[in-house]
């Protein structure tokens, strides 16, 4: 009997492969196995439910010395470093004690990012560009980190850290030129909107392939160490992209070679339509990845600009002291869709972003400045207007150089540039193709 069953379980040679017949599986009296596929706590039509989140009180988490053993930071991977409490007060050992002027600049930068996002989102809807990605609710993750880094440190961002450029004083017109792929676009219309690059501002070219920048940041940092430089690297990745092999290699290499790099995981809970559970977020925290690799790890309230600043500063000081990398989970929420091509009402409860228990980073910094007696609604409104005027002025300026053109004849760039920069020197086959394309366009014009 047994041998007959065994034979039946195996597909005949040359026959179709496939699962064995259930009834004949050996051990049929055991528990039937079932596959677990994670599901979020709410879908469209449900009320947003964040009741499972455990949120420690601001100021309650200890701050290890920057020279602490990596293992001493590991308890911090399972809690949240928070500085701003519900009343807008900065409390506890992580309070970076920033002066009011710095806080106001930080506030303005975050508001600028938000206004910029709003205008560019609208520009996409108006057909002025093909694509846009907002960072609504995540402004602190980039802006506050930029404040804690040195201007010469190299950032390896994802497409949702436009706040780094704004905080580093990059001209909004340049960003818009890129978004519009217009005549002023430094990247010559080659990159999808928001895939900025600027070496002088320490902003590495955004790939669009996810996670590839992570090991590159580690390599850049290793280069800095090889040369005895003092600059460090910082990288960002989304919760979803931590599933890529590049994440593993990056953290592994960073640990092995003690690379001076800050590895941020921006856990905004969503990877397009997949909640963080699909990337393993149900099993443990993303910060806890640090434990397995034996590097320092922190888990931070990403909607608390002071906590983001303090954690980044801690990790930067540690890296600069040859004490190696830190993995920081920035715990936040993607309030809007993934991009202009996405509609989150198709997969998650309506209004989830507004109910995020950790609040809004701009509102929280505003409340803090108010609590310090440095700010009020009137000034806030005035600043909002100022920011809006600046963004509109930049947009007007950028649009003078054109917006995305869909044409088969007229292009904002000199079309022959399409063949440049594939190699440092153009080989014969590209020269031939370039000539052919130019002839093609001339024929079309006739």
């Amino acid at each position: 009997m047994a041998s007959k069953t065994d034979r039946r379980n195996r597909p005949a040679r040359g026959g179709p492969p496939g699962p064995p017949d259930q009834a004949s599986v050996r051990g049929a009296n055991r528990t039937r196995l079932s596959l677990h596929v994670p599901e979020p706590d709410g879908r469209p039509g449900d009320e947003p439910d964040f009741s499972k989140l455990v949120i420690p009180a601001a100021g309650s988490v200890a701050r290890p010395d920057i020279s602490a053993a990596a293992a001493d930071t590991h308890p911090l991977c399972f809690t949240l470093v928070r500085v701003l409490d519900e009343d807008g007060q900065a409390v506890g050992p992580w309070d970076p004690r920033l002066d009011a002027e710095t806080l106001k600049r930080m506030l303005k930068d975050m508001m600028t990012v938000r206004a910029f996002d709003e205008r560019m989102f609208r520009a996409q809807r108006q057909g002025k560009t093909s694509f846009y990605m907002k960072s609504l609710g995540e402004e602190a993750v980039a802006v506050a980190a930029a404040y804690a880094l040195d201007g010469e440190d190299m950032c390896f961002p994802t497409y949702r850290q436009q706040g780094l450029l704004v905080a580093r004083g990059y001209p909004m017109v340049e960003m818009m030129n890129q978004i519009y792929s217009n005549r002023g676009d430094r990247l010559k219309g080659r990159q999808l909107p928001v895939m900025y690059s600027d070496k002088k501002k320490g902003f590495f070219s955004i790939s669009g392939n996810l996670a590839t920048q992570y090991p590159q940041a580690v390599g850049w940092a290793m280069g800095s160490a090889v040369k005895g430089d003092s600059r460090i690297a910082a990288a960002w990745i989304g919760d979803g992209s931590t599933a890529e092999g590049d994440f593993h290699s990056a953290v592994l290499f960073a640990g092995i070679y003690r690379a001076p790099v800050i590895l941020n995981v921006v856990n905004n809970q969503w990877a397009i339509s997949s909640f963080s559970g699909i990337a393993g977020g149900e099993l443990t925290t993303f910060a806890a990845r640090a434990v397995g690799y034996g590097i320092a790890g922190l888990r931070v309230d990403g909607n608390d600009p002071l906590a983001v600043y303090a954690a980044t500063q801690w990790a930067a000081d540690r890296a600069r002291s040859n004490l190696g990398p830190t993995l920081i989970e920035m715990f936040t929420y993607r309030v809007e869709g993934h991009s202009t091509s996405d509609d989150p009402s198709a997969y998650r409860p309506q209004g989830a972003g507004k109910k995020w228990p950790l609040g809004d980073p701009i509102e929280r910094l505003k409340a803090h400045l108010v609590s310090l007696g440095e700010w009020d609604d009137g000034r806030h409104e005035e600043l909002a207007k100022e920011v809006d005027t600046e963004v509109r002025a930049a947009q007007k300026e950028a649009e003078k150089l054109g917006t995305l053109v869909a044409s088969t004849i007229d292009f904002p760039q000199d079309v022959s540039t399409m063949f440049e920069d594939v190699f440092e020197e153009m080989p014969w086959h590209l020269k031939e193709q370039q000539a052919q394309m130019i002839a093609e366009l001339e024929a079309k014009k006739k």
Binding site: L187, S197, P215, Q216, G219, A233, D246, E420, D421
Partner: protein, 337 residues
């Protein structure tokens, strides 16, 4: 001048470049203390220190990602992938990143990275130590692919690769590391010492990327090859008594079309030889180029002699390898009226 085999020539190129430029670093699996499983990086760590020559974990994706990052910092990494068969975990970093960073940043960043990798079969390496994946890289815009066939070219081309400001995939035909294998596997190996190209200058010199070499002049047939197959072709044309012109491409992208075109227009016949699998192999590109440019000079269809479209079989290696018989058949067809 010193008589060198391929490994010694490659090692010498490392020494010359590491001595000349502090930004040159070498990394890879077993590359550091041990000096590489083929010993290509022997003595480098001792001389230039651990921070410039180091072992990496078994992580080709990591090696590529990190080396690209180092290159964007301003270093000139020479990254070894221990066998070309293991390059695939790093493929995304090569194709999507190294190849495109110059382009996508409009020249603001570049990736002066050399990816060295022993490749090809004939060593009883089975399917995982024998592959010739050059066509995969030839297909990628922004990647230069170099395959030397002798010690002199290996050193000169490797120095050119390291000095290049663009990523170069540098495949080393491991079957000819120790001698110019001629395709007759049952004969004893001839050491490099008996070959003129084993005379290698000790110092710095370059062999230009993108330039082929006519290694045998002839009137009856043009044979285009690279790597190990150059020697197999030379032995086969001698054995068959064919007055063939043999071109060693040395670089497959950018390919030296002028040399090929000139030769085929002269001979009117062309055979292409590579060890890699046949379908969509680099020979297909070469055949297309030859017919586009030399169609009215051709007296017969362009022929290909290649590996079969199967994985590289271990014990059947010499039935797989495009040896003298397969080459002879292709040459004969190319010479038909």
């Amino acid at each position: 001048m010193t008589v060198m085999n391929m490994i010694q020539a490659i090692n010498s190129a490392h020494h010359v470049m590491m001595e000349a430029d502090d930004n040159v670093v070498a990394l890879g699996e077993d590359v550091g203390y041990f000096g590489g499983v083929f010993r290509a990086t022997e003595g480098l760590q001792r001389k230039y220190g651990r921070s410039r020559v180091f072992d990496t974990p078994i992580s080709e994706g990591g090696i590529m990602g990190v080396a690209i990052g180092m290159a964007t910092y301003g270093l000139r990494p020479v990254a070894e992938i221990q066998f070309a068969d293991y390059i695939y975990p790093g493929f995304d970093q090569i194709v999507s990143e190294a190849a495109r960073i110059r382009y996508r940043t409009a020249g603001e960043w570049c990736v002066p990275l050399t990816i060295r990798s022993p490749y090809g079969g004939g060593i009883f390496g089975g399917q995982t130590h024998s592959q010739s994946p050059e066509a995969l890289f030839a297909h990628i815009a922004g990647i230069t692919t170099v395959i030397p066939s002798n010690p002199y070219d290996a050193k000169g081309l490797l120095i050119s690769a390291i000095e290049s400001n663009d990523p170069v995939v540098f495949f080393e035909p491991k079957r000819i590391y120790n001698g110019p294998f001629d395709g007759f596997f049952d004969r004893p190996v001839t050491p490099w010492a008996k070959h003129v190209a084993s005379e290698v200058p000790d110092g710095h010199y370059t062999v230009p990327i993108g330039k082929a070499q006519v290694v045998r002049e002839g009137e009856a047939l043009t044979v285009v090859a690279y790597g190990t197959m150059v020697h197999v072709v030379l032995a086969a044309v001698e054995a068959a008594g064919i007055d063939a012109e043999v071109i060693d491409l040395r670089t497959i992208v950018p390919v030296d079309i002028e040399t090929i075109e000139e030769s085929v227009k002269k001979t009117g016949r062309c055979a292409i030889v590579h060890e890699a699998t046949r379908t969509a192999g680099f020979g297909a590109e070469l055949a297309a180029l030859v017919q586009e440019r030399c169609f009215y000079h051709l007296e017969a269809p362009v022929q290909r002699a290649t590996g079969w479209d199967t994985p590289y079989p271990h014990s059947l290696e010499w039935a797989y390898f495009p040896g003298p018989i397969r080459l002879g058949t292709a040459f004969k067809k190319a010479l038909e009226d």
